[in-house]
Symmetry: C2
Subunit: 194 residues, 2 copies
Amino acid sequence: MARTTGSHSDITGPRIRDAALRLFARHGYAAVSMRQIAGEVGVQAGALYNYIPDKQSLLVELMRDHMVELLEAVPVDRSDPPLAQLEAFVRFHIGFHHARPDAVFIAYMELRNLEPGNFAEIEELRGRYEAVLERILRDGAGAGVFDVPDPKIATLAVIAMLTGVTTWFRAEGRLSLGDVQDQYWDMVRKSVMA
Amino acid sequence: MARTTGSHSDITGPRIRDAALRLFARHGYAAVSMRQIAGEVGVQAGALYNYIPDKQSLLVELMRDHMVELLEAVPVDRSDPPLAQLEAFVRFHIGFHHARPDAVFIAYMELRNLEPGNFAEIEELRGRYEAVLERILRDGAGAGVFDVPDPKIATLAVIAMLTGVTTWFRAEGRLSLGDVQDQYWDMVRKSVMA
DNA sequence: CTTGGGTTTGAATGGGTGTTCAGTTAAATC
DNA sequence: GATTTAACTGAACACCCATTCAAACCCAAG
């Protein structure tokens, strides 16, 4: 067990993931080479393979980590009324995604670069997240609070709308994150209300 | 001027564009090689260069054609009341995009693979399309029909929501295109109404 | 039936790809 | 101070990349 304090492995590992996240988001998985990632970390390409088995695994790991983090953070309190649950979801989605634009970008854009098995895994996680919102809408519709003929469609519509925020919102811009959350919550609320 | 009837150039040209559109949408611009495109057309890679100057131009052309077609097809009748204009826009957007899933995918996903000048050109076209919706919302808000604190945000929210349809809608599925248009129109209408 | 030219081939150019691995470096332990 | 070993280098491997171009092909026109 030599070399624990001075070891770099606990530094280089995360740095590789950070660099890959940024580069994949900026240029796309296929357009980024292992040499570029290594360059950002300040290491030769060969060294990356002490930390990851291959390029594809690096992508899957980034996407899985993002989705798992998302699922763990999403607020679900089934004792709250549906409207309150929906508001919590909307504000959470915007806030969470805004804090991780690169991960969001990758999770939505690089699905087609996943090998079939990996694709299925990530899609399953995404499905679980969508199910959270769908359940809220279904409960609210059942209680007569919401008017959504097809909760599945409404779920996809709302998530698409909310996720779009990451493509244009910048904290330095005209509006604060709170402003954006307020206005989106207003639109979502009205769009599903009975 | 020999060889007009037996010429292939009026066949091969479009076939290259078709193949590139499908392949770029499926695998991404960076992941598709000129050899793959040529293979789909049934020709050697070198032959592509009789029709396009380079790979990047092929991408730009596909994106520009899509955006120009979109801008020419979008219904704008300023004599209609804002609500009717909005409904026409919503139904048009869903219908038009549904008919060209590959072009939509490329136009939204491959922006980062454009060189700066080309990027600016495509963004300008996209801006013009967004301006159509923004104007409708602004007019309606001015007339007191709509309640949208920030028409710019509402524009982006609505477009993101509508464009999301292409990622999941399949004509063979549970719902018809008309069903989807109806429900989306219902949600959009409610979300912006005063 | 030859000619001219639009069209395509097939090879070559120079460079980049992901991945492997023997060898070197340097820090922690004994 | 010697030994161990995690961490990394640098070169090599086999292959793919976009693009160019002289040569071959093929067919309408004359």
